[in-house]
């Protein structure tokens, strides 16, 4: 096991924190939007679907620039957040979390939407004849049945957030200790002479985390899936 410099450790910890906050923040919105997309038919649904998928196909640098325009100190939302709550996102780690949440959002929503579409709505009808209101049906039947999809989506979102580069560096730059995440530090290493060893170490760690996340996602989703299918 190669030893890590304090700078590298800081970047790894920051990446983990940014990815965790991004995933937790995106989760409730992801479930809500997946429900809307899976269960309702309305004018403009195709547009909502396209907006959700957009970060998947846009160059990440464009997403980052749009975030900067909207959430920067002079941007309409950024200024309002600062004036009302004193919150600043641009060039802060919270901004990195926002960028990562948006980049991971399509994967999160897709996984949950597929899980909701697979739920047998006849079970929900049965629950309603047993006295459960719509919210109780959701909490006691729908939510447990889609749990594997939510977990898989959350882990994919987390892994995507761990690897986010373009939107992050555009929106919040590459400030050591504040916004210098694992990928942006690797980038820094590749730009300086003698940085190869550091870049290589972090690449190995990046590989390990991503591989671990995917294996965990599959494992947990399968275990929970067996449980909710009553096996």
């Amino acid at each position: 096991m190669p030893t890590l410099t304090p700078e590298e450790l800081t970047a790894i910890k920051l990446s983990l924190r940014v990815a965790a906050v991004a995933t937790l923040f995106a989760l409730p919105f992801g479930v809500a939007i997946a429900l809307v997309l899976a269960r309702t038919r309305f004018y403009g649904r195709a547009l909502l679907n396209a907006l959700v998928l957009l970060p998947l196909v846009l160059p990440p640098v464009v997403t980052g620039y749009v975030l900067l325009l909207l959430f920067g100190k002079q941007g309409p939302i950024g200024r309002w957040l600062y004036d009302s709550f004193g919150i600043v996102l641009a060039f802060r780690w919270t901004g990195a979390a926002l960028a990562c949440a948006i980049m991971g959002f399509p994967l999160l929503v897709r996984a949950i939407q597929l899980a909701i579409e697979a739920v047998d709505t006849r079970l929900e009808q049965a629950a309603s004849t047993l006295g459960a209101s719509r919210s109780w049906v959701f909490l006691t039947v729908t939510l447990p049945l889609i749990a594997p999809g939510i977990i898989a989506g959350a882990i994919l979102c987390f892994a995507r957030a761990m690897g986010e580069f373009g939107a992050t560096i555009t929106f919040v730059s590459n400030i050591p200790g504040e916004t210098q995440t694992l990928p942006t530090l690797i980038y820094t290493f590749t730009q300086v002479p003698g940085g190869n060893a550091g870049a290589f170490r972090l690449t190995l760690i990046s590989l390990a985390i991503s591989l671990g996340a995917i294996l965990a996602a599959e494992g947990i989703a399968q275990a929970v899936g067996r449980r909710v299918r009553g096996q």
Partner: protein, 216 residues
């Protein structure tokens, strides 16, 4: 118990235009497949809202389109046993049985867990998952689940039709016990003459979306 049902609605190419009243303990709705029997009891349960119609139990309207009454399915307290058991796969048999009890208003929880599990002989199955049940056991658990929600009326939609002959013979005695040992009024949907003659005291005949006769 008295039940009044009137429903007029179009479902695709099919028109349901049916009306009947009964005060029998077990009323069978009898007719060939596609006669509209399931649609009619879905109207009673509140799972289908007809264009025009009325459903009243003991004079209390649960649905009356003329007066703008449409009580939501979860507030009707009408138990429903479906053709396929529709047990919740993520819950054990015990948890399935107790599901509806929790939602029933406290003063109306007359069903006793011990009595229902005894009646349907569910004791040995309580800790099993729903995958480890045979078809007949699933239907018994589904009947128990509906009873334990303390409904005012129980709808059974061809509960034997998904079972083979041997399983039918296994579940039939439990339906007779349900008839003989509880006061629960039952609407029993079937296309089987044998089942209907064995269980029901009032028979509503249906064909092509209409009620064609009632026999006491």
């Amino acid at each position: 118990m008295s039940l009044e049902v009137k429903a007029l609605t179009r479902l695709g190419d099919f028109t349901l235009d049916a009306e009947f009243a009964t005060d029998g303990k077990i009323t069978a709705i009898f007719g060939p497949s596609g006669a509209g029997k399931t649609s009619l009891i879905n109207v009673i349960a509140g799972l289908i809202e007809p264009e025009r119609g009325r459903v009243a139990v003991d004079g209390t309207a649960l649905l009356d389109t003329e007066r703008g009454i449409d009580i939501a399915a979860h507030k009707r307290r009408i138990g429903y046993v479906f053709q396929e058991s529709r047990l919740f796969p993520h819950l054990t048999v015990r948890q399935n049985l107790l599901y509806g009890r929790w939602f029933a208003p406290r003063e109306l929880r007359q069903a006793s867990f011990e009595e229902v599990t005894d009646l349907l002989d569910l004791g040995p199955l309580l800790h099993r998952g729903t995958r480890q049940l045979s078809g007949g056991e699933k239907q018994r658990a589904a009947i128990g689940r509906a009873l334990l929600a303390s409904p005012r009326l129980l709808l059974l939609d061809e509960p034997l039709s998904s079972l083979d002959e041997a399983r039918k013979q296994e579940v039939m005695p439990f339906l007779e016990r349900l008839r003989d040992h509880t006061r629960m009024p039952i609407i029993y949907v079937s296309h089987s003459v044998a089942e209907v003659e064995r269980l029901a005291n009032t028979i509503v005949f249906m064909d092509a979306g209409r009620v064609t006769g009632i026999k006491q």
